[in-house]
Amino acid sequence: MRANVLSAVSGALAVLVGALILSTTAAAQAQAPQTSSTDSSSAPVYNPYPPGILPSDLNTELLRVVREVDFIEARALSKWKALPPPVLTGQPPTLQNTGTAAIEVLGELMNYDKSISPFRNVACASCHMPYVAFSGPIPSVNLTMVAYPGTVHFRAGKRTAQRYTYSPFFPVLQYNQVQGAFFGGNFWDSRATGYLLRNADAEQAQHPPVDTQEMGNPDTACIAFKLSKAKYRGLIEQIWGKGTLDIDFPPQTAQICALPGGAAVFGTNNTPVPLGPEERTRANIVYDHWAQALDAYEQSVQVSAFSSKFDAYLHGSYTLTADEKAGYDLFRGKGNCNSCHLDGRSTAPTPPPPEGTAPNSQDTGAAADAQPLFTCFGSANLGLPLNPRDTIFYQDKPDSFGFTANPAGFAFRDLGLGSFLRSVAAPNPNATWTQYAPTSDGQMQTSTARDVAMTPAQCPTTEAPGPYFQKEFFHNGYIKSLKQLVHFYNTRDVYPYKVTSGHCPAGKTEKVDCWPMPEVPNNLDRTIGSLGLTDHEEDQIVVFLKTLSDGYTRPFDNADTFTGSCMRGGSAKTQGNEFLIPTPPLPTCSASICGVPPLPGPMPIP
């Protein structure tokens, strides 16, 4: 019965895909967006950007993703309706049999629910779609803006959308005294620590709904309010009990929650929904449930699937091709990638010295970890150049709500973990950590290498000439292909130039034989930068990275929902270089960032 339903849905999808391809093609010819047709509010569009910063197909692409989001939401509703209700039994009381499925599908329903945002135009998934392992779904945004538009078009954040996959496996943030380093947390800057829910991923899910640049709710109680009116309210009550959503919201709640956070009318009030202490507590509990359900979805086998070629290889049911094996040996040998992207093996074969570092090339290691996560949960400053296309730099003027995201303009610097520890980026819940800010400046979380290469089936690669799906890599999206990513690790210190992006000397090609200087020169990681890999060896590592994409041993859930277009042509080495723009003369780092103690050091940040 359920299979028949899915089959019917697939048929409908095929028709939808055909229709959407046509509309997408036409839309690609549209000019720079001046209005937001996806925005149900009457708010004027916020466009502080010079021409060319926003991609010309932005509105049509946002509409495409909305359609895809709605399609998956409808799928999830069907899945929920088909789910036998769990039975609450035992001591402690447990939702027997379908309890796990219930909370996972609840998280899925929440993830694709646009009605949570003030203008009902943005769901969590709007920036995190399954066909790219829940990273950014719009090729042109990945090529230009870096961050994705939030509920207010076109406010946008400052960093790339991180993949959901395996984020629930990151531990609660901790400072390890022996290692002198932080491990765990979620987000590029680890600011979702997990300090209260004891689950970094769940706490991560509590940030975007009230981030001014993302969903933009003005109050966490708005999420509880909107969940109380959700189509899936019954499922929430089934899991957490009748009455869990019975909060006495005042009549003006709907009006308050339809305004974006940061609006001048709210002043500095983070709880504009007027709730008494008991009602506020109940709303907070609902918001914790929101977080736990989204974490359940992200931790489920639908999202963190362990279904890659590499998993099959560890299991013994897949044999790596010669290039994949060579790439893997480089990944854990000469490339030294597994010093941070831990692969769970106990030994590392490398070529003999002087190129290699291990004594022989024999793979004598067993899999010490049956499902390695390809991250050490730590953070590093890899020395990415400042990306002048990052939309955050341009948001230095107030929008129609009187909100200015970044008054510092190009004096903004992304210090990553360091800014969080100083409570600049978000409140740091542990004062004993603040002292480590100067040794953490510029550090960003080590992503899992799993699913870095995942693309929709119709665009089978991230790499030009393709057909490829344009992704963006690292926290500021400076890197546009995996070839460039590996080449950066390999040659950052071989081709360093004391210039900003867009200013490589004549005769040099940025990202090929010219790497502009780091945005944050402090705490630069020198494990990488001059690995001595040949061009062919770089390619082999890229081939290996593709074995880490889920969806090999079984289909990846909802990976079939991409209805956009692939890109073609060019070379992975220079992919996206046509969109490089010259970095303007940079003012020194804003005092609101670099002037907050403990000050960056030993060298000041330019």
């Binding site: 290692q179 002198g180 010093s339 941070c340 490398t350 400053n381 020198r526």
Partner: protein, 159 residues
């Protein structure tokens, strides 16, 4: 009193334990070698280098390869330097993540704030996250920075 009575027996047991421990250690060492040949080296030392990787008029990168010093994964490569070989009073250090699965690790340090066309002398060391030295000491090496706009590249470039 009781202790005195049991002392001979304890001594025998101790001797037996020492003997078996010794045997066990050999077995474990063999197993460890098979599964993890890159554990902390018995004697931590530099295998290659130190040498100048690259330099421009104000910055130099020094690199060397050590066998595995063990200790914290989070490590620092350290250079003590100066223009007087008998007074290496300046220090530069760079962050390195030790790959405990590798028998050897490449350490690299960026030394900034140098003067052009100047000869510098240096020794290298590495340290754990705590700052504790690995006890590696090189002999004194030297390099000369190029003039403005010039660049030295000693390490082989990718082909």
């Amino acid at each position: 009193m009781i202790a005195l009575h049991t002392k001979p027996a304890m001594a025998a047991a101790l001797a037996s334990l020492l003997f078996s421990s010794s045997g066990a250690a050999q077995v474990n060492a063999y197993v460890a070698k098979e599964q993890s040949p890159a554990a902390k080296a018995p004697r931590v030392q530099i295998a290659r280098g130190p040498e100048l990787e690259s330099a421009d008029e104000s910055t130099a990168i020094i690199r060397w390869t050590s066998n595995n010093p063990g200790g914290s994964d989070e490590h620092f490569a350290v250079v003590h330097y100066g223009t007087n070989p008998k007074e290496l009073d300046q220090t530069a250090k760079s962050h390195i993540r030790l790959n405990q699965k590798h028998a050897e690790t490449v350490f690299r340090v960026s030394v900034a704030g140098l003067a052009p066309r100047t000869t510098y002398y240096y020794t290298v060391d590495s340290a754990q996250a705590s700052g504790q030295s690995d006890g590696i000491r090189s002999s004194v090496g030297k390099f000369t920075t190029p003039g403005p706009g010039e660049r030295i590249m000693r390490y082989p470039q990718p082909n």
